[in-house]
């Protein structure tokens, strides 16, 4: 039931943000497109100052998330899938930033959304983490019964869980990314860690390359990976903290 509430919450946020941000984005894109073509028609008179202004205009557009490619601006990023992914990045506190609300209402909504979403996310991650721990302890008990190993079983299971988690969440996903995104393995690994630790620079974001086609299951699988990977990494970090304290 917690999971249902979590997913429902994300969906709601996505819908609202899309409604708030899409119109502003379309407007800004049209404005930039007009400027772009105006400039081209006047290019014979292009001088240093005009070039400067052009560059500044492009930088400004880029910062608000619009890039010019060919005849049209890049596909709208506040479509439902993009907004959903944005909601995830907000309540998990990853906060990539490649997409961020530019309208005042969008921002206020973002704050309120995160205010309730972040605790919700923490509770869910805690639950998943506890389930993982229970699973590990259960396996350890089973091993103790079968092999009569006593203390060693717990240690063995914990290392096993660590290694499986490492493989599943940090070492194998970069292979998927290098296939679907064209990143190198190190880049994929860097992206995986930066995402799961919720740092989320936004220099690498999945599914943002306009030259590539992504299968329909891609973003959903990634969202699941983020959820479970974060829970796992949180457990690992809690473990490190216990050592430090």
């Amino acid at each position: 039931m917690l999971l249902a509430a979590y997913v429902g919450y994300l969906g709601l946020g996505a819908a609202v943000l899309q409604a708030l941000e899409r119109p502003a984005e379309v407007q800004a894109a049209q404005h930039l497109l007009r400027e772009h073509w105006e400039l081209l028609t006047n290019h014979t008179c292009l001088q240093g100052l005009a070039l400067q202004r052009l560059i500044e205009g492009i930088i400004q557009a880029y910062k608000s998330g619009i890039t010019l490619q060919g005849n049209t601006t890049s596909l709208g990023r506040w479509d439902y899938s993009g907004s959903f992914f944005f909601s995830i990045s907000a309540i998990t506190t990853i906060g990539y930033g490649n997409l961020s609300p530019s309208t005042v209402v969008g921002r206020i909504f973002c704050i309120v959304f995160a205010l309730f979403g972040i605790p919700l996310n923490l509770v869910l991650l805690n639950e998943i983490g506890q389930l993982m721990l229970l699973g590990v302890q259960h396996c350890a008990h089973r091993l103790e019964e079968v092999f009569h190993w006593q203390n060693k079983a717990s240690f063995l299971m914990k290392t096993c869980a660590l290694v499986t988690g490492l493989l599943l969440f940090l070492l194998l996903p970069p292979l998927l990314f290098s296939d679907k995104e064209g990143w190198s393995y190190e880049e994929g690994f860097y992206y995986s860690f930066i995402t799961l630790s919720t740092i989320g620079f936004g220099d690498y974001v999945i599914g943002m390359n306009p030259d590539r086609t992504y299968p329909s299951w891609y973003k959903n699988v990634i969202s699941l990976w983020i959820l479970f990977g974060m829970a796992w990494l949180a457990l690992v970090i809690k473990f490190c903290i216990n050592i430090l304290e």
Partner: protein
């Protein structure tokens, strides 16, 4: 004796925390600076080449120029201004230190990020040890803050108030002063130093302290403004105490 070792532990922790950030900043700087220099030169050359050819500009060339420009921007290099901007670097020590801070606090604005493979891998391991360190550090800071609350509680108890009422009042006090000191006052401060509107300041404060850190607003990044010398240190202190306050809030 126990109190002495507790204080020593705290002192060591604080010292360790800052040493960790300093070392990280130095390493990031060393790894990223040369790559940045190369990017800058390439962007300047591109601009030069463009200017020489603009009389015969075609649509295709314009597209190519835009593409190159956007790539340069994505790498954090803005080809505006003149040669003097070669001297300023995104990876000077102050920026690298601030960057290291955004990594261990998991805020991760992203306006500055490592582009070399070495920098990225180092970043991963730096964060792996830095994040637990940061959390432990924030716990200690949080304990200091909660001591203040306990003192208030004691004061009220001696005045003869009931325990339940004390709990409620201290919680309210904690919440209210926190919102004032960490959200409202900084937004006013940013209005002056950054020229943002009040709502932009609140948005920035919230996004930062929740560690979401989109990076659409970052302090000290506007090239046409003058910041007084300890500006970012002040902001860092605000972030540390604000984060500790939020962490305490979650534990309550």
């Amino acid at each position: 004796r126990a109190m002495c070792s507790g204080k020593l532990q705290t002192a060591l922790l604080v010292a360790g925390y800052f040493v960790y950030l300093l070392v990280g900043a130095a390493v990031f700087q060393a790894l990223e600076r040369t790559a940045e220099r190369q990017e800058k030169m390439a962007a300047a050359q591109m601009k030069e080449a463009f200017l020489q050819n603009f009389t015969q500009l075609t649509v295709a060339e314009m597209e190519q120029f835009m593409k190159n420009l956007i790539e340069a921007i994505q790498n954090g290099v803005y080809p505006v201004g003149n040669e003097s901007q070669f001297e300023e670097s995104n990876w000077d020590f102050s920026n690298s230190f601030f960057f290291a801070g955004t990594v261990v606090s998991t805020i991760g604005y992203g306006t500055l990020h490592p582009k070399t493979v070495g920098g990225q891998i180092f970043c991963v391991f730096f964060a792996l040890f830095g994040i637990p360190l940061n959390i432990v550090f924030l716990h200690r800071v949080g304990k200091m803050l909660s001591l203040l609350c306990k003192k208030l509680g004691k004061f009220l108890y001696e005045k003869g108030m009931r325990k339940k009422k004390i709990k409620f009042l201290t919680l309210l006090f904690f919440l209210a002063t926190g919102i004032l000191v960490f959200l409202c006052l900084p937004s006013v401060f940013f209005q002056i130093t950054e020229g943002w509107s009040y709502s932009e300041g609140i948005y920035f404060a919230f996004i930062t302290l929740s560690t979401i850190g989109f990076g659409d607003y970052v302090v000290g990044k506007q090239s046409d403004r003058k910041y007084f010398s300890y500006y970012r240190v002040l902001v860092a202190i605000w972030i540390i105490f604000g984060l500790a306050w939020i962490a305490l809030l979650f534990n309550l």
